[in-house]
Subunit: 350 residues, 2 copies
C-alpha cells in the first residue's frame, strides 16, 4: 500500500470542497500550496500549532487585538476582504499606540468558493502584510457546507508592542482637548454600498482601507507621548458613533463644527442624494486623535506632513457635559445632537 | 433631541438581528450586556480596540496561535462551540510548550440566532476560560444575514509564554523515540457524529473536550524540558493524520502497535459497526508526546498520575524511514500502512 501522491491545487478552475477542512491531505495541500506559499515567513514556516516569537523589548507592554471580517462583496473598489482584514487589525493595534508586530489569520471557507478567488484574496493579504512589515505568523482554516457561509470570512488577531509612556485610550479625553481627524470621512462605507449595487448609483469612489500605524508613529514623534489622549479609527458606525463611545467612556461632551469636518465632494453629493449622513459611514483608513489644545497645531502639522493625513483637520473640542452629548454646530449657527447610530443598519461593511 | 435610552437585551426571547453587528447602540448593548458581563476581567474592561497586557517574563518566548470553530451542532454531549473554542486554542498553546496567558474571541453571528443560545455559549466560554485561569481579554462581533452563516462561528486566538529550554515541535521526532498518547482515542469525533444523528445511532458517548495545559506542565515537571521532542493534540484527521504530519515534518517513520492504542469499548464497538476507524476520528482532550526511549517510563508515569492522563500509553516508536511511513502492527502480526486521512471527509467536528 502506498500513500496517495499530492495532487496539485487547481488554482484556475478548482473550488473549495469539504475535504479542504477535514484535516487530511487536502487540508495540508491547501495550507502548503496556498497560504504558506503566499504568507511565507520564518515564523509561519515553523509549521506547528502556533508560532514561537521573540518577546517585545523590556518595559514594553503587549497589545492584543482581534477582528472578524465579513464584508460583502468580497471584492470592492480599493480593496477586498483580505486587505481589509490585515488593515483592520493593524489599525486596532495602532490605535492602542502599539507598533504592530505579528498577525494571525483564521479562515472560514464556504464549500464551492473558487480557489482563484481565494488565491486572489490571500495574495492581497500577503501584499498588505508585507507593505506594513507585519508578518502573518500563524493561522487556521475551516470549511462549511454550501449555504452555511458566504464565500469566506476572515478573523485576524494581532500582537503589538507599546513603547513606555504611551497610553491612548477611549477613557483619555479631557475637557478642553482638541478633536482631530486625519482626513475625509465616509469613503469606505459609501464605496461598499455602491459596490453592492444597493444604491442604484455608479461612482468612481474607492475605499480608504489602509494601514495607519505609520501615521500614528508620525504623531507620536511630533508631540509628547502622554499628550495623545485618545486614538480611534471610526469604522462601523462612523465618526458619530465613535465619538459618542469616547464621550461615554471619558465622561465628557463634544462640540463639533460641521464645516470643519472633511468630506469628499463625491461622498457629500451621494449622501445628499440618498439621504445618508457621511458622519455615520464607516472608514477604514482614517483616525481620530484627541490631544490637549496646546498640542493641536503640532499634531495637525505632523498628520498633514504624512501622505495619509494630508487633509487632517481639527473638527471640534471636548467639553464638560454630564450628559456626554456630541453636538454639531451647523453652518447656519444651529446645534444638532449627533447621536449613536440607531436604526438603518449598514451591516457587513467590514 | 434626546439620545434613545438603552433597551435591555431580552436574553429569554430575543434574537440576533443585523443592528447587533452595525456598530451602533445595539452592538454596544450586546457587547456590554452579554460578552463583557460574562467574560469580565480587568483587561477586557479597558474597553478599547485591543487589550494592553503585561509582557511575559524576561527570556520567555511568546507563543501565538489561532483557531476557527465551526462545529455543528453547536451543542453536543460534553461541550459546545464555546467550550471547544476555548479548549482548542489553549491546547494549541500547550502543545507548543507554552503556559497560556490570554485569549481573544471573534464572533460571527447569524441573524436570527436566539440570544438564549448565544448567552449559554458565552457562559460556557467564560466557565472554560475561568477553569483554565486564562482570561478572554479582547474580542469582536459581526452579524451576517440569515442563510449566510450557521448560528455562530467563533475564532479564538491565544497568547502564551514559553519557558526557556522548551522547544517541542513537529520537527523534533528522532529515530528511537517513544510515542505516547495521553488516553483513549476517537471520543470527540464519534460523539459529534452521534449528536448530528447522521449515524442512526444513540449512545452515551461524550466529547473529551478539555484544556490540556495542566497535563503538559505535569509532563515538563517530570522529565528534562529538552526531552519533550514533540507535543501535538490529534484533532482533525485524528491520530493517524497527526502522526503522518509529524513523520513528514521530522523526516522519520513510525511503527505503532495496534493493541497498545487505547480506545474506549463503546467507541471501538460503534466504529466496528459503522466501518469507521477510531484512529482517524478527532480528539479534543488528548495529546501525543514523543520523547527519548530512556524518558518514556518517567513521562508515562507523570501522565498517568494526572487526572487527564490516567490511560496514557506508549503506542509505538519512531523509526528511520526515508518514505516517512506510519505503520501499524496488527494483532495477528500483519503490517498496515496508516495513511493520511484521504477521503470520507468528517467536516465541522471542531
Amino acid at each position: 500500500m502506498k500513500a496517495a501522491p499530492y495532487r496539485p491545487l487547481d488554482l484556475t478552475h478548482g473550488r473549495i470542497d469539504l475535504t479542504h477542512g477535514a484535516g487530511g491531505r487536502a487540508s495540508a495541500q491547501l495550507i502548503t500550496g496556498l497560504f504558506a506559499a503566499a504568507f511565507k515567513n520564518d515564523y509561519l514556516d515553523q509549521g506547528d500549532d502556533g508560532a514561537v516569537l521573540p518577546a517585545p523589548a523590556p518595559g514594553e507592554a503587549l497589545v492584543f487585538a482581534t477582528d472578524a471580517h465579513v464584508v460583502a462583496p468580497l471584492f470592492f473598489p480599493g480593496g477586498d476582504i483580505g486587505s481589509l482584514a490585515v488593515h483592520g487589525t493593524l489599525n486596532d493595534l495602532a490605535m492602542m499606540g502599539a507598533r504592530p508586530l505579528y498577525l494571525s489569520a483564521s479562515f472560514i471557507l464556504e464549500e464551492g468558493l473558487a480557489l482563484a478567488d481565494l488565491a486572489r484574496i490571500v495574495a492581497s493579504m500577503a501584499t498588505a502584510s508585507r507593505a506594513a512589515g507585519v508578518p502573518i505568523v500563524t493561522g487556521d482554516t475551516k470549511v462549511v457546507e454550501q449555504g452555511k457561509g458566504d464565500g469566506l470570512f476572515i478573523s485576524t488577531a494581532g500582537l503589538g508592542a507599546r513603547p513606555v509612556g504611551r497610553s491612548p485610550s477611549g477613557r483619555g479625553a479631557q475637557a478642553g482637548d482638541a478633536i482631530l481627524v486625519s482626513g475625509a470621512l465616509g469613503d469606505h462605507g459609501l464605496a461598499l454600498l455602491t459596490a453592492r449595487g444597493e444604491l442604484g448609483l455608479a461612482s468612481t469612489l474607492t475605499s480608504d482601507s489602509v494601514a495607519l500605524h505609520g501615521l500614528v508613529e508620525a504623531l507620536f514623534n511630533a508631540i509628547p507621548a502622554a499628550a495623545v489622549h485618545v486614538l480611534r479609527d471610526p469604522t462601523r458606525g462612523g465618526l458619530a458613533t465613535t465619538l459618542n463611545e469616547i464621550a461615554h467612556q471619558s465622561g465628557v461632551g463634544m462640540q463639533l463644527i460641521e464645516t470643519a469636518i472633511p468630506v469628499n465632494p463625491q461622498v457629500a453629493a451621494a449622501c445628499e442624494l440618498l439621504g445618508l449622513d457621511p458622519l455615520y459611514l464607516a472608514n477604514e483608513g482614517k483616525l481620530i486623535a484627541i490631544v490637549p489644545a496646546a498640542q493641536a497645531a503640532a499634531a495637525l502639522a505632523a498628520l498633514r506632513a504624512h501622505p495619509l493625513g494630508q487633509r487632517a483637520a481639527q473638527i471640534g473640542a471636548v467639553t464638560t457635559d454630564p450628559r456626554h452629548f456630541v453636538q454639531l454646530r451647523t453652518p447656519l449657527g444651529g446645534q444638532r445632537l449627533l447621536d449613536w447610530l440607531n436604526g438603518d443598519p449598514l451591516p457587513r461593511i467590514c
